[in-house]
């Protein structure tokens, strides 16, 4: 275990490292500036557990109905040697008839060893790549690996990689519907970035066998129910952009040392469990430790990260909590209290209530704040004028009644 690994292990504490999956890796791309998240993910911290123990349980849950539907659709598409998927691939992508192989790379004969499965996956994929269509078409439950922050994350996607004209395409099966050729944009975007994660992992698996990255196409296949039925439809997605973002993100995580250097040496999120596994550390103490690592909270965290409620509470009184654009619109000022001070007494009712983080009280305003102050003063003045003015305009005989 090298130095970085040791430091990360110390931060994680005695808990088992949380394994990544494509969803969590994809989420890494969403808030690149957050050190707290970067450190926790690199160390494999169980974020939901930590958040809950610190008093801010995450708002994410999954409905049994959605899970059941997703599983049922996937099972249906993959049934009988993936007959329905094969039909889609033939119809939409011109897969030649002889290419109808189906290999299940799932659990091998009762042995759950992930290394074994991964080895078998690599072997079969390599053989398929070498044979150009004779030895493999569709690969179900392949076990791939991606290096994230010095640790390997095993990825077991519900994807099937297949080969067309010597190139592999990642296939993602999702149960949200495509209606009249259109689907929910956010869901498609999420599927695209997850597919990109698999592309990277598949390229890595083949690279170990000296097979070039181009062997894995940047075009992935998304399979969804069509309209209101359970019949599947396929669409191709170009994930080059997502690949670029992901590679950048993963390289940042690889340089986690830079972040770790800023942290106090003894920092840990360990819960100090007793013999029965009951945590002994006080939640307040844990919260203090969490705060040692800077977060970059934005409201979008509420849909992507389990620490969101904790960080949101911490960010109360910051303009960033009001929206991504809010801080910029307020002249780049960081704290609400500062905004209100710069805006002047005009337009700010002196009512009590609400916690506001302390601003830069007592220090003279920096030159860059002067411009913000000017903007905010003007804004406050205009607002006050508009709110207290009487009729905004005089009525005239020339105007027709509205």
């Amino acid at each position: 275990m090298n130095g970085t690994e040791a430091r990360l292990a110390r931060i994680r504490g005695r808990a088992l490292a949380k394994t990544h999956n494509a969803r969590t890796i994809a989420a890494l791309a969403s808030n690149p500036g957050c050190a707290r998240r970067a450190v926790m993910d690199a160390a494999g911290v169980d974020k939901p557990r930590i958040a809950a123990y610190a008093g801010f349980p995450a708002p994410f849950g999954q409905s049994r109905f959605a899970l059941a539907r997703g599983n049922a659709f996937e099972a249906q598409v993959k049934a009988n040697g993936a007959a329905e998927l094969l039909t889609l691939l033939r119809e939409h992508l011109g897969l030649p008839i002889p290419q109808a192989h189906y290999d299940d790379l799932g659990e091998v004969g009762g042995n759950p060893s992930l290394d074994l499965r991964h080895a078998r996956t690599k072997a079969l994929l390599a053989r398929a790549a070498a044979s150009r269509g004779d030895a493999g078409t569709m690969f179900d439950h392949p076990l791939l690996r991606l290096q994230v922050g010095g640790r390997y994350a095993f990825l077991e996607p519900d994807l099937i990689a297949f080969q067309l004209h010597g190139r592999f395409h990642v296939v993602e099966i999702k149960s949200f519907a495509v209606i009249d050729g259109q689907a929910d944009g956010d869901k498609v975007a999420a599927a695209a970035i997850q597919s990109a994660v698999y592309v990277l992992a598949l390229r890595d698996a083949l690279a170990e066998q000296h097979i070039p990255a181009e062997a894995v196409s940047h075009e992935t296949i998304l399979v969804c129910p069509k309209d209101f039925s359970s019949r599947p439809a396929a669409a191709a997605i170009d994930v080059r952009k997502q690949l670029t973002v992901l590679r950048r993100q993963l390289s940042r995580i690889a340089r986690i040392d830079d972040l770790l250097d800023l942290l106090p040496a003894g920092l840990t999120f360990d819960l100090d469990p007793d013999g029965e596994g009951v945590p002994r550390r006080s939640p307040a103490d844990l919260a203090a430790a969490i705060r040692q690592v800077d977060a970059a909270y934005v409201p979008e965290c509420l849909s992507t990260c389990e620490m969101c409620y904790f960080c949101r509470e911490e960010a109360r009184g910051c303009t960033a909590a009001l929206g991504r654009a809010a801080r910029e619109e307020l002249g780049g000022v960081e704290h609400v209290a500062t905004v209100l001070r710069l805006a002047g007494a005009a337009g700010t009712p002196g009512a009590p209530g609400g916690t506001v983080a302390s601003g830069t009280a007592g220090t003279p305003d920096a030159p860059d704040l002067a411009e913000a102050a000017e903007l905010l003063r003007r804004a406050a003045r205009l607002r006050a004028e508009a709110l207290h003015t009487d009729a905004p305009r005089a009525g005239t005989p020339g105007r027709e009644a509205g």
């Binding site: 999954q62 959605a66 039925s229 303009t319 929206g323 509205g402």
Partner: protein
């Protein structure tokens, strides 16, 4: 958002309650809107689970699908919903009013209005309309006639909701967030309970505290259509299993009991949102309406009239996809409408106009000099061209020759003649034309007088002509050629509902 709105949010944080971003209401709120709160089954496209609907806050209709995977029960739900919605819409088909100078001589005197909790509710309505409007009333997959009719009306409402000028269908979160700034982010404003918590917190509680309570899905069920996963997993799953078990066992009494228990469980998820919806309506009714709201509602009445007559005359349902020309036209149309509505909101509302003043697109000040009788004899005819000088503290981007309009005199154009700085303030000379009568003497009051407070914007509220698009039959081949006329197909009637 803009600086003023963000500032209002900052103020809200300190004050502990939401701050107004408008002095008037910019949407129409009908005397009798139909509130529709749908719940969808997780994991399916627009699969209805339950709904509460009605125009009377004291008497909601509760609709429940006991077994959402059962096709027949889904369509029974649609038929029940149709009974509520169609009866409501029909109430507006009685009274008509004259519309002189328009294409159609009369239109309906008022139009229905559909209110849902949030944008996801609008999307759900659109999906429900899409899944029902192509159904057939005879043949192997027959549904009651009210179902495709419901589908066409729901699609109509959902399509109108796309236009910023329309109030035929509105999401409560959109309506409220357009008029108030909370101390949280726009993302959190999508939670109707949290939004109302900021705008109208219970006594003794701050906006933030009320919003936090609203985020607890056990205390405050989500407004839907998505249900809370813990509700699905701990309550709904069991209730539906009981229904299924009773049905399979052939036990009629147990089936009724199970069905009633399921309905009650779903009602617990709907009633709180129902109450929130009517609170939202009351809050908006409390604001005075903006001047242009009535004209926009008139356009809505036109659209409603057109659609009702189209349906009654046996016209086809809305096609699945727009042809290329229709799509381009629709997009361009929405952009123009967006600009028009933005301008009208500014004209109606000094607080909205203030945003434009801050951005340099408008200014307000006092008239310091005026030549109301100035006549320009330079051209072929003598024309009345009064000039006024306005002194303002604003810093507008006003180039010489640019045309501005005043909300007080929207029919009048004001051309910038000169802009000079004067001791920290700006002095602008404007030349006016129009809106003063026919003669060379302006009608009284049509020219601003010295000492009058005025405001001018670099945009007008008027209608802009549509860009020229080819007729649909002339769609160029690059865009797929002319669209084929719509012929209802067996495929559509047969579409599985899962």
């Amino acid at each position: 958002m803009s600086t003023l709105t963000s500032l209002a949010r900052a103020v809200a944080v300190a004050a502990g309650t939401a701050q107004r971003t408008c002095t008037v209401r910019h949407v129409h709120v009908g005397a009798r809107p139909l509130v529709f709160v749908p719940l969808a089954l997780a994991g399916e496209a627009g699969a209805p689970l339950a709904a509460m609907a009605g125009a009377d806050p004291q008497a909601p209709t509760l609709l429940v699908v006991a077994e959402p995977r059962d096709r027949d029960q889904r369509f029974a739900f649609a038929a029940d919903l149709a009974a509520v919605v169609l009866r409501y819409v029909e109430g507006y088909l009685a009274a008509e009013e004259d519309t002189p100078g328009r294409e159609q001589a009369t239109r309906y005197a008022d139009a229905p209005q559909l209110l849902v909790p949030n944008p996801a509710g609008i999307a759900f309505t659109r999906l429900l309309g899409r899944s029902t409007r192509f159904r057939r009333t005879e043949g192997p997959y027959a549904v009651p006639a009210s179902v495709p009719l419901l589908g066409r009306w729901l699609t109509f409402f959902a399509e109108r909701a796309e236009s910023p000028a329309s109030s035929l269908m509105l999401a409560a979160t959109d309506m409220l967030a357009a008029h108030w700034a909370t101390g949280q982010s726009p993302v959190e404003d999508l939670n109707l309970g949290a939004l109302l918590g900021w705008i109208d917190p219970p006594p003794g509680m701050s906006g933030a505290q009320a919003a936090a309570m609203a985020e607890d899905p056990v205390r405050c069920p989500p407004a839907g259509p998505a249900t809370d996963p813990t509700f699905d997993n701990e309550v709904l799953d069991q209730r539906m299993l009981a229904v299924r078990t009773a049905r399979l066992a052939g036990d009629g009494r147990a089936y009724e009991r199970a069905r009633a228990a399921l309905a009650e469980a779903l009602a617990t998820q709907l009633r709180p949102t129902w109450a929130l919806m009517w609170r939202a309506v009351a809050l908006l009714r409390g604001l005075p309406g903006g001047e242009h709201v009535r004209a926009r509602w008139d356009a809505d009445k036109d659209a409603f009239t057109w659609h009702a007559r189209h349906v009654a005359a046996g016209g086809p349902p809305q096609p699945r996809r727009d042809g290329a020309v229709a799509a381009a036209r629709r997009l361009a149309g929405l952009e123009r409408v967006q600009e028009m509505v933005a301008a009208q909101r500014a004209f109606d509302d000094p607080l909205v106009m203030a945003e434009h003043r801050l951005a340099g697109e408008a200014f307000a000040g006092t008239v310091t000099a005026a030549e109301p009788d100035r006549v320009d004899r330079g051209g072929p005819r003598a024309v009345l061209r009064p000039r006024i000088t306005v002194e303002t503290g604003d810093e507008p981007r006003a180039d010489r020759g640019a045309t501005f309009t005043s909300p007080a005199r929207p029919g009048q154009q004001a051309r910038i003649v000169a802009v000079t700085a004067a001791g920290g303030r700006t002095r602008i000379v404007l030349e006016l034309r129009g809106g003063m009568g026919r003669s060379l003497t302006p009608q009284p009051g049509s020219v601003p007088a010295v000492g009058e407070s005025v405001s001018y914007a670099a945009f007008g509220d008027g209608y802009q002509p549509a860009p020229a698009f080819p007729a649909p039959e002339d769609t160029p081949w690059t865009h797929g050629g002319p669209p084929a006329p719509y012929v209802p197909s067996d495929e559509e009637a047969r579409e599985d509902w899962s």
